[in-house]
Structure formats: C-alpha cells, structure tokens
Amino acid sequence: MGPNKEPLLEVKNLRKYFPIKDGLAIKSYIKAVDGVSFTINQGETMGLVGESGCGKSTMARTIMRLYKPTDGEICFHGNNLATLKGSQLLPYRKRIQMIFQDPYASLNGRMTVGDIVGEALDIHKLASGKARISMIHELLHKVGLEPDHAIRYPHEFSGGQRQRIGIARALAVSPDFIICDEPISALDVSIQAQIVNMLKDLQSELGLTYLFIAHDLTMVRHISDKIGVMYLGKLVEIADSKTLYKSPRHPYTQALLSAMPIPDPRLASKSRRILIEGDMPSPIDPPLGCRFSTRCQYVHSQCVQEEPKMREISSGHHVACHT
C-alpha cells in the first residue's frame, strides 16, 4: 500500500523552551526546539536526523505531549494537541505511541515483560484475564519473541530483544502513529538492521505512520520516505529521501552525509571527507543569523546577520540556507 496523501500529523512552528532558573527568577531559556514545521502523511515515514543536543528528542517528547509546548501547533488528524490538558489527551495516547532510545532505561526492571507489554491494556481497559494474556502473547509473537518470555524480567534479555519488547508495548494500543526516538542508536549494527526491518514489516502489515529519529543518516534512508535534518532546534533541510541523499543542499546535510562511515575499504580510501570543525553551539545562546554559521565552510556576511528562511527549491525539497 502506497502512502496516500492525507496529512496525519502537521507540526506548525513548534517551540519548546526550558527555563533556567536562578532562584525564583527565570534567568534565560534553553531553546531546545525553536520553530519547527513539517507534515507527515498517512502511512508515510518521516526520518528526522540531527546530532545529540539538536533538540530532536525534545521535539519527539513534545509531540507526544510529554512536555508542554511553549508555542506552536501539533495537529493530529486536524485536532490541535498542543493545548490539551491531562485526561483530554488520553484518547490520543491510544493513537500515538513512542519507542524509546535506551533499551535498558526504557523498561521498568521490576515488572515482568508480560506486565510491561500489558500495561497499556490495563490502563485503557482493553482486555483482562485470559484475553489479556493471549493478547500479550500475540504482541510478543509479532516482535519475534516467545510466549514464555512474558514471565521473565527485562534484564534477562539482550539489547535487541529489549528494544522489541518496547515495540510490542507501543503496539499494544494499536496506534496509528509511532514516534521512534532513536530506536537503533544504542544497538549493534547487526541488530539495527533487524529492528529497521521489523518496523518496516509492521508498517506494511498494520498501516502505521512513523516519525523515525536517528542521529546519523546511515540507516534512516532504509525506512524513510522523506527526511528532515535538524540543527540546533531548527530544521535546516527537508526532502524526500532519494533527493536528500543524491543532492543535499544544506552544508550541514552534506557534512553529515560525508561523515557516514563507508563500509567499503576501496571506496573509503578514495573518498574525501568534509570534516566540520568544532562543536554545536549552546542552545541557550544560539548564534544570530544562521545557526550553522559558526561551523559552516561557506559562511559569508549575510549568514551571520540574517537568519535564513525555509524555502522550497524544488517540489518537496525545502532548505534554510542563504547560498
């Protein structure tokens, strides 16, 4: 089934600032997410790439409404989630789910795998007794685990298995939309492929829509229809994944692509890397003008003074860069 063009999630100008307090007075803000807009269509996967500290996890949690957005809209099926409170969110908890990064910290070590997977069933009163148990077994089966794993505790599993338990937990409420917050970053490469393939299979089986977050571009293209690149709280480039890999326009995207390890010694010895120097500036006090200007090799005077606007350079390909 191909992605039909109906938007499922529209994020408009989303901002999340964390106050830094000095006693009772607010001293300044960490601008973790600073005006991000994008749309994800039904059945589609959007990849979101950026290095640690760029605000991608904060954004995921804000869309999930684990954080209250400072500003902006989160439209899910046309309903704005940004302004909802407490129990008003409960119906959406069944439709939007999340898979987490750390397979060790994301499972409660004092609960059995069955209880972890079945928690959503209890909360939303979806099943109880025998039906609950058989649903748990079915969910475990979906992610390639055995029914008798349900009585074990998370610490007995390997990283990849734990991540699959996390996936089963998210699937329990049969959601439409899953935010995958770096689900593979903490795993071995061989297991990463396993998880990516599993997510893809589940997508075609259950018609899911994903927001897939990663910290590099290596795996993202295998699952994403379009990819957004984030830097210091802002999106710098969005394009469908083929275009992004073939003709990246933003210097940061180019650097990210060239930094990818090349699993081919003959090519690796020939290729020239664009190395970007230094580190990402602090989100408390981001540079004026273009946020990448401090590390960009093509920087000129306009970049330092004026913040580049997102503009469409070809159909579906948006870049925020002056050059």
Binding site: R61, M64, L66, L89, L90, R93, K94, I96, Q97, M98, F100, Q101, D102, A105, S106, L107, N108, G109, R110, M111, E119, A120, I123, H124, G144, L145, E146, H149, I151, R152, Y153, E156, F157, Q161, G166, R169, A172, V173
Partner: protein
C-alpha cells in the same frame, strides 16, 4: 576429521533452532538480592538474631510462670538463678520476663513508628518528587521546618498534653522521623522520573498515581527498605532514651530504658539488673544495623551485573 558421515552434512530447518534462547534461570530482583545477602555471613547472623528476639518477644512471656507486674517482696534483688534466670529487681519481679516484655515494647515502638514513617514518608516524598516545581518547593520547606524542631522537645510537649506512655512516644516518633524518609524518597524519585520508562508509562496514558505506585516506588524500594532497617534501631533507642529519662513507659510496664534507669540506683550491688536490659538493647540495635548494612550491600546497583 576425514570421515564425516554424509548425513551430518544435512541442512537443518529454521524450526529446529531456538534463536531467541535465554539460558540463564529467571530471577526476580528480590530473589537476586536474597541470594546475595545469604552470602553475607554477618548480615545473616543479624537477621537470625532479629528473628529470635522477635520470637522471644512474642511467645517468651507466656512460657514463663512469672508475669512482668507481679511483685514478690520476699524475693527482691535476687541474683540470676535457675528460678529466676536473669534474677529479680528491687520489687521482686522476674527480670527475664521483664526484659522480654521490654522487647515487646521496643519492637512495637520500632515497628509501628517505622510503618507510619514508611507510609507517610514515601507518599509525601513521592508526591513531592513526582510533581516537582512549586509543589515540591513548598512541601520541602515544610519538611525543613519540621526537621528543625528537636525530638525531645516534641516528646516533652506531647507528654504534657497526653501524659507519659507508649502512645505519646509513638506519636512523637512518627511526627518527626518520616521527614528523613520523605527526603530520601524524593531524591530517588527526582532522578528516576527522567528515565525513559517513566516517559513510556506517561505516553501510554498512565495516571500519576499509577506511575508513582507501579513504577517509581517499586524502583526506590531498595533504598526504602535499607532506610527502614536502619530506622528501626534508632526508634528503639529513642524510646529507650525517653524512658530512661523518665518520659516514657511508666511502671509497672517494662521497657529497656526504664529498666536500666531503675537499675542505676543499685548499680554497685546489683550490676546484673543493668546488664540484662542493656545487653538486650545493644544486641537488638547491633543486629538491625548489621542486617541493614548487609542489605545495603546486597542492593547496591554497582555490584549488580
């Protein structure tokens, strides 16, 4: 290796293999803790002694022909003998029964005070830590204020209002000791609530109460239990101290504190009257402390694989 039979070269099907096999036995967190504490000899000794004291305190007084309040003025201040194992006190009461009766009082005070502290402290600290922000600030200032008032002052004030006795001691202990538990629990929860499994529970739609009870508190249980085992001896000692200075249990009820206090006068002539309740107090306190230390080691996550 030249003669390998041809059937060994047969491919095997996927179904024949168990690629998700988990070899190690399933063990819950508490089973693992119990296994580790069993290896700790001194902690186990402490545990056994606590159990023995508990048992003696419960059934001991019934097995004796004497009672703690019956005076036998013809047999005052007898040395330990077959008749009276620990001897008798200045009123001719059997010291063995009185020490065991003291154990009842001490353990009851320790357990009740700790239980109340546990419930109040864990809930208070849990709520404060989970909600954070201004709620946390206000709740913690209240805790700060309570912890500045000395316990003895409390106890004396309560005695004035309620009169001396077991109830006043327990109320005094309960109204102060939970503060420490609340602080410890709050600290733990503050660090736990940023963990991903809490976010996961929130995104499933779990209510704050559920998150607190199902996720946060079970994960702080280790620290809570260690705090409890170390709080019990302290409560026991405080009770003994208050009774010793005459603010606690009144005659004919026996407490280790009041018994040592009674024995001070005749210390030169009848040292055993001080020795037995004193020794009981020491042994109990030591056992709880050693066991608590062992428990802390067994729960230490740095030792966990």
């Amino acid at each position: 290796m030249n003669n390998i039979s041809p059937d060994l070269w047969q491919p095997i099907t996927y179904e024949d293999r168990d690629k998700e096999r988990i070899a190690r036995p399933s063990m819950t967190f508490w089973q693992d803790v119990w296994r580790r504490i069993k290896q700790n000899k001194s902690a186990m000794l402490g545990f056994v002694v606590i159990m023995v004291i508990l048992l003696l305190a419960i059934v001991g007084p019934w097995l004796s022909q004497y009672s703690y309040w019956e005076q036998d003025l013809s047999n005052t201040s007898q040395s330990p003998s077959f008749e009276h194992w620990f001897g008798t006190d200045g009123h001719g009461r059997d010291l063995y029964v009185r020490v065991l009766h003291g154990a009842r009082i001490s353990l009851a005070v320790g357990l009740i005070a700790t239980l109340v502290n546990f419930v109040v402290g864990v809930l208070y600290g849990g709520i404060s830590g989970y909600f954070g922000g201004n709620i946390d600030s206000v709740m913690m200032r209240v805790v700060d204020i309570i912890s500045t008032i000395p316990l003895v002052l409390y106890a004396i004030l309560l005695m004035v209002v309620l009169g001396p006795g077991l109830l006043s001691i327990i109320i005094a202990l309960c109204s102060v000791y939970w503060v420490r538990m609340a602080r410890i629990v709050r600290g733990q929860i503050l660090s736990l609530r940023e963990q991903e499994f809490i976010f996961a529970a929130k995104s499933l739609g779990a209510s704050p109460f559920r998150i607190l009870v199902r996720h946060l508190i079970p994960n702080t249980m280790g620290t809570i239990i260690v705090t409890i085992t170390l709080m019990i001896p302290e409560a026991i000692f405080t009770e003994a101290f208050l009774s010793f200075i005459g603010l606690g249990i009144s005659a004919p009820k026996a407490s280790w504190g009041s018994m040592t206090s009674d024995a001070i006068g005749g210390l030169r002539s009848y040292p055993y009257q001080l020795f037995f309740p004193g020794a009981a107090l020491c042994i109990t306190m030591m056992s709880f402390n050693i066991f608590g230390d062992g428990l802390r080691d067994a729960l230490d996550p740095r030792l966990r694989k």
